[in-house]
Amino acid sequence: MSAQEPLLEVSGLDVFYGRGSARKQAIFDATFSIAPGEVVGLIGETGSGKSTLARTILGLIKPDNGVIRFEGADLATLGHRQRQLFRRSGAVQYVFQDPLRSLDPDFTLEESIAEPLLSSGAHSRAEVATKVREYFRQVRLDEGLLSRLPGQVSGGQRQRAAIARALISEPRLLILDEPVSALDSANRVQILELLQNLASPSVSLLFISHDLGSVAGITDRVVVLYRGRIVEIDTTDAIVNDPIHPYTQLLVGSAPILGSGPSDRAWRDDIRSRLGAD
């Protein structure tokens, strides 16, 4: 990595769920960082803890141990009220797989996108209206859709509106949780293109996905999470071509690849037995 100060620095993070005998550790000693403008993939299977890790970074979950340094400030030690203030600052934004979770069904797209700015109270209505249109254009939505409700537009248009709503607060980190898995190919390609163009020194992206194959091409680096532990962090090129941890090898070897022909089962069985021995 460059000598540049990281935007986000997570170190020694432990997260537990539940109380007493039901207490269970979801994240074990997670350490990784995101540089300004970097696009990082957080990849893991169902139950690996990737959403827990993302929600902890977002300030929704208080970690039991560890440091989350965002632009130098430690988020992990903030109290409930301070974490709430941090969330409202909009510095970190979250986009869900299902845009209906980011958009109020009773708000028009314009109202939903304007809401973060209006609630901050720092802008006049005219300024907000101008900004909403600016971000609407940036996510390539037609202005004619501004007055529609989320239920009256397509899934791809809804996801774009959710991204516009996330962007309008000018976040430094955008966390995208499976942002394209519910969309068809044409929309997936367009939204990935949009996100690729978005990454700039002022915005970093954290892509959460169970499927490395669907987002690899947009990422600079990949963090592989397996059963609550980060097992490998490297450039996407190295992860794809020279995976080191057996789970990463299995993950890369399992991804359907165009023209790869029949898969090599004996090889995967071997990796699986090695993983079991871990």
Partner: protein, 278 residues
Amino acid sequence: MPTESAVSAPIVVDRLTIYNYIEDVPAVTDVSFTVRRGEALGIVGESGSGKTLICRALLGILPELFEVTEGSISLAGRDSSEFSRRDWTRLRGSTISAVFQDPASYLNPSIPVGKQLAEILRVKNGLSRRLARERAIELLDAVRIREPEYVYLQFPYELSGGMLQRVLIAAAVASEPDILIADEATTALDVTVQAEILDLLTDLKDRLGLALIVVSHDLAVVAQLCSEVIVMKSGEVVEQGSTAQILFEPRHEYTQLLLQEHHRFGLERFLRPVEALR
């Protein structure tokens, strides 16, 4: 592999058109294909492209107000337009079978999975209780479930999505069908589990000489298993040909979009050429 003429192939679909009488539009137009024993055909398309309607027509379970209006489906040498409801009931399972995306929804949550498998064998194959139990355990073993006697007694909620899909595949092949349809059968699974299920389907196709029809939104999944691919969009076949032809000489822009998505955003972007053809 014995060569069979198209006439004796287990499934021959000729210029199939399915009409939607709810919206008064054709839902699927002019689809033709033949699948021989031990061969696999892939159908790729978005949700709403008509691929699942084709599967339902092949199984004789089209939704109400959807009808085959032109063309024909021949199963095991017989024209399906002549089938009575009893014929269909007899053919489903013994000639043509299917597995779908959400295995849990096809199982009764309050009955152990093995018992449900044995019930199929008693009803469809007329086996005694004891034989049905023995055969069910054999089938669980055949779909590579470790400790089949133990899994036999487990309830659906105790098993992972991948294990449940194995149980459903065991049920689908219980009456030794000629044709197996896998309609988005691995879509909801983690990539590493998807690879195992795809391996299993390939193995069953080869071992039992099944005519396999793989339906997926992911061209790479289909290309891995199938020698012939049909690409569908809005109810129409936009391209059909050998897998190599579709992958390396795509003619339709929609097929090109599907390939482009992999090359730009998938692992393919990083794979060195030699490995891409591994």
